[in-house]
């Protein structure tokens, strides 16, 4: 029996004949990070049951992909996890490159890793910022994090001309080389950002209210996290050393020196701290990439309307929210026969119920915030 069910039975015993209340959190709720509904059953302030109700943002990306050419699908992947478009691009392209056996040049691999790591910082900033916002710190920390994200988006705008919907990766490389002055801008950003992380830590990690709301709240054991197929920072917060960048290195991650930060208890605190530590590692990776960046072509010579041979391929990357996988089936035509998406946010939601049951209503928002889901990716 799961942990969640046990605590539910316990709380049912405590009811003592009182009537429980059904409360809908969402779909239009500022703390649900999108159009997302939580059907909660409350006994007083204690949570008896939580049921996530999805589908408000369903756009049918998999089905739309079946009538678009392989290059056009890149624009759809931007819109899955709209806080981490580059990572989605890379996951899709890695599947497509397995399908077509195209090798990107070395410089393209470096450019991809640079973009994906910048994206990881931006996504974690938003994850932590909105979490603290939901905790009641209102807007100040969130605005600090928006400011740093803005600088990252400016870098993306320099490179690919868009701030959210990048469509940057292409089959066999990337769409643009680095513009003039990018090296200087990113070096300035990284120097500045390291100081800003210190500032965040001073601002957040000592605060008694945040500590009391997060330390020891909603722990998730490592074994249970593995059984629920949790991936990404949420899994690593539970102390499980699993990062695709280390376990199944793609692009150039095997040539880079970085560590994978791990938590201990898997409580809300660990889930937040792991994200802050990951941002530091991303800065470390970015510095190495900018030092090692080789010269050469940034894109292999490929067709715009590529026709891969018949077959299937599965490509996965470590996106900011977890393992993001794309499954492509080709029938030899211009468009895929089927595209499946393994989105980390959706699968990370499986533990939401057992994290929340037995805790107070106010804890739901925090537990939900630390999972750092993105509804664009949950509903696809």
């Amino acid at each position: 029996m799961s942990q969640g069910n046990e605590s539910m039975n316990e709380s049912e015993k405590n009811i003592g004949g009182t009537e429980s209340v059904l409360l809908n959190l969402g779909p239009q709720h500022p703390s649900t990070h999108g159009v997302f509904r939580l059907r909660t059953l409350l006994d007083g302030e204690e949570v008896v049951d939580v049921e996530p109700i999805l589908g408000y943002l369903h756009r049918g990306s998999s089905k739309l992909a079946e009538e678009r050419s392989y290059t056009q699908i890149i624009t759809l992947t931007d819109r899955l996890d709209y806080l981490a478009g580059m990572s989605n691009n890379l996951a899709y392209i890695s599947a497509l490159e397995k399908l077509t056996d195209v090798e990107p040049p070395e410089r393209a691999r470096y450019l991809r890793v640079i973009m994906v790591e910048l994206m990881r910082i931006a996504s974690h900033l938003m994850g932590i910022g909105f979490l603290i916002n939901d905790l009641g710190a209102w807007i100040t920390p969130l605005m600090h994090m928006f400011r740093e994200r803005e600088k990252i988006l400016d870098l993306f705008e320099m490179v690919c001309g868009a701030r959210i919907t990048f469509s940057y990766m292409r089959l066999g490389g990337v769409s643009h080389d680095l513009p003039e002055g990018f090296e200087k801008s990113i070096a300035e950003f990284l120097d500045d950002f390291e100081k800003k992380i210190e500032e965040y830590e001073n601002l957040l990690l000592g605060n008694e209210i945040i500590l009391s709301r997060m330390v020891g709240v909603a722990p998730l054991a490592g074994e249970r996290a593995i059984n629920c197929s949790i991936t990404g920072p949420n899994l690593r917060a539970s102390g499980v050393d699993w990062d695709l960048r280390k376990q199944d290195p793609y692009e150039i991650y095997d040539q880079l020196d970085f560590s994978v930060p791990l938590g201990e208890n898997g409580d809300n605190w660990d889930r937040m701290v792991v994200r802050i530590e990951e941002m530091k590692e991303s800065v470390h990776i970015l510095r190495q990439c900018m030092d090692k960046l080789p010269q050469g072509p940034y894109r292999a010579d490929t067709d715009f309307f590529v026709r891969p041979p018949e077959g299937e391929a599965y490509g996965m990357v470590e996106a900011p929210k977890g393992e993001l996988g794309f499954y492509l089936v080709s029938d030899g035509s211009i468009a895929p026969y089927r595209m499946g998406i393994r989105s980390p946010s959706f699968i990370n939601l499986t533990v939401l119920r057992e994290l929340c049951v037995g805790w107070k209503l106010a804890d739901i928002i925090v537990n939900f915030g630390t999972l750092d889901i993105n509804v664009g990716e949950v509903d696809r």
Partner: protein
């Protein structure tokens, strides 16, 4: 022994420092941020002289919002016998992916810089052929490395000879 409230005060010191720093934000309608030369904006630049009506852009568009009508007639571009009657872009549905610009083999279509486009009617969002003919020709350097090579920053108007990889 932990003194309760010390962490909160430490945090407040951080916010206090910001009292003496200049603001990071800009007052938008009055002041605008500079956009990058590669920015994918909605003032599409189209050079009729360079366009052969091949419809590569329309085929590349994921949404199918570019409408092109041509009829056979000799035209100024060498080796082309089609004249363009209609070239329309429905920016109301455009997602500014620039695949059309990437696909154009003759450097006739370019992204433009502007990002402010609001209208009361959906039909007004369609950029018509006449608007494309007469609009300001300030192409962005998105997928146009030849413009980056000459140091173009997307600020001055370029004619059909300057914007392409080769002069007509």
């Amino acid at each position: 022994m932990r003194i309760f409230g010390l962490g909160a005060i430490k945090g407040l010191v951080v916010t206090l420092k910001y009292l003496f720093r200049p603001p990071f934000t800009t007052q938008y309608p009055e002041n605008k941020l500079d956009i990058s030369p590669r920015f994918r904006g909605n003032n599409f630049v189209w050079y009729e002289e360079r366009c052969t009506g091949c419809s590569s852009c329309a085929k590349a568009c994921p949404l199918g919002i570019i409408r092109i009508v041509t009829h056979p007639e000799s035209h100024q571009q060498v080796g082309n016998d089609y004249k363009i009657d209609v070239f329309e872009i429905d920016t109301g549905r455009c997602m500014f992916c620039a695949l059309c610009v990437e696909a154009c083999p003759y450097d006739a279509l370019h992204m433009g810089g502007d990002f402010e486009k609001a209208d009361y009617v959906r039909e007004d969002l369609v950029i018509t052929t006449d608007q494309l003919r007469e609009g300001t020709k300030k192409p962005q350097t998105q997928f146009r490395p030849q413009l980056e090579d000459i140091g173009y920053q997307g600020e001055e108007e370029l004619d059909e000879h300057e914007a392409g990889r080769w002069s007509l």
